[in-house]
């Protein structure tokens, strides 16, 4: 027993917090090194997805895809951003509770974080459903000189937009290619948007599962200040997921 305590002391002195995971040669806890490396690689992964969306945005419009502004509402996503920020607060409060051996607080704040994560996922499902149920029309304008222009018009703007287009192009042939739903396959906007936000939503869902496992461990009495790293690791991942939404909210919805 004394040896075990000595091991714990040695591990803590080296920056470790968990059991059975000795520090690296740098004196760092190997689980945390692994998670920070993973987070670092995830930052590159999500930057690639966001960059792809941004560079293909003009191409989507040139091909007569839907205008993102016609479909992406700021109000809903601002609420989702608030929910994730709130969940980051409850997550650090859960970590604080476990570090101070506040068992009730740990369970309460972990539960709150899970609930807020589920609310975020519910909001995302609502947004995806809304996009799928709405449609857009690609209007092909052929000028007398043969020049072709494609314009994407949201279904709910079609009636007001068509007379404008006819007035702007009096001699052109204007053809409506018909209604298309905003899905993963009908436009570059759909492909890049659903891939990016879908991956983020998947990360949130994984976070909810991870936190639920930690909550069950806490309910079984397996979580205390002695292994608070278990909560800290889940928290680091959760905050990173929030961080990604900070970027998506600004670069995709606000700009």
């Amino acid at each position: 027993m004394a040896q075990a305590v000595a091991h714990d002391q040695k591990e803590h002195a080296a920056g470790g917090h968990g059991h059975g995971h000795p520090p690296t040669s740098l004196g760092l806890n190997s689980r945390k090194v692994g998670l920070w490396t993973f987070i670092s690689s995830e930052a590159i992964f999500f930057t690639a997805l966001i960059s792809t969306y941004l560079v293909l945005k003009p191409r989507n419009i040139a091909l007569g895809g839907p205008e993102p502004q016609d479909f992406l509402g700021i109000t809903l996503t601002a609420i989702l951003a608030f929910i994730l920020l709130m969940s980051s607060l409850t997550m650090v409060l859960a970590l604080h509770a476990v570090e101070t051996d506040n068992v009730r607080g740990t369970r309460l704040w972990l539960g709150a974080t899970i609930l807020l994560g589920l609310m975020f996922l519910g909001g995302q499902v609502y947004e995806f459903n809304k996009l799928w149920s709405e449609g857009f029309h690609t209007i092909v304008i052929t000028e007398p000189d043969g020049k072709v222009e494609r314009i994407g018009v949201a279904e709910h703007h079609l009636e007001e937009e068509l007379p404008h287009l006819q007035a702007e192009h009096p001699n052109a042939q204007i053809q409506d290619t018909g209604r298309k739903p905003v899905t993963w396959t009908t436009s570059l906007f759909g492909s890049t948007f659903f891939t990016m936000t879908g991956f983020h939503g998947t990360h949130v869902a994984i976070g909810v599962v991870w936190l639920s496992i930690v909550l069950v461990m806490s309910l079984r009495g397996a979580i205390s200040s002695r292994n608070s790293l278990t909560v800290e690791m889940a928290g680091l991942y959760w905050h990173f997921v929030d961080l990604v939404w900070v970027a998506i909210f600004t670069l995709i919805y606000l700009i």
Partner: protein, 121 residues
């Protein structure tokens, strides 16, 4: 056994001081700041529209700066990088630098290609 419990408590106690000031008040203050920045961001997204009509690049600069500030606060205080080992900061910063460079190169390259022929692909 009592000695062991005492030793365990000693092991756990310094953790709070060395790793992060587990200060609930700080956490709530950070949340309030993040909330206010988010509200400012929503307001700033209308800067290039009437009646303010600022240049779009100013709006984008303001929004990106505010998002970066939010990210910094989350990483420093909620992810505890401010109080944790500098190696973790180095690990994370390396990824962010690679990601930022990749995004810049990606955007410049596609912008250049678009300027050559209008449409890309």
């Amino acid at each position: 056994m009592a000695n062991q419990t005492s030793s365990q408590a000693e092991v756990a106690a310094p953790h709070h001081d060395a790793h992060a000031p587990s200060n609930v008040r700080v956490y709530i203050q950070i949340f309030v700041v993040l909330f206010v920045i988010t509200m400012v961001e929503v307001f700033a997204s209308y800067l290039d529209e009437p009646p303010i009509n600022l240049e779009t690049w100013i709006e984008i600069t303001v929004l990106v700066a505010l998002a970066a500030l939010k990210g910094l606060l989350v990483v420093m205080f909620y992810m505890h990088l401010r109080f944790d080992s500098r190696w973790f900061t180095t690990l994370f910063t390396t990824g962010i630098i690679i990601a930022t460079l990749m995004a810049i190169v990606f955007l410049l390259l596609w912008g250049y290609k678009a300027s050559l022929g209008g449409l890309v692909l």
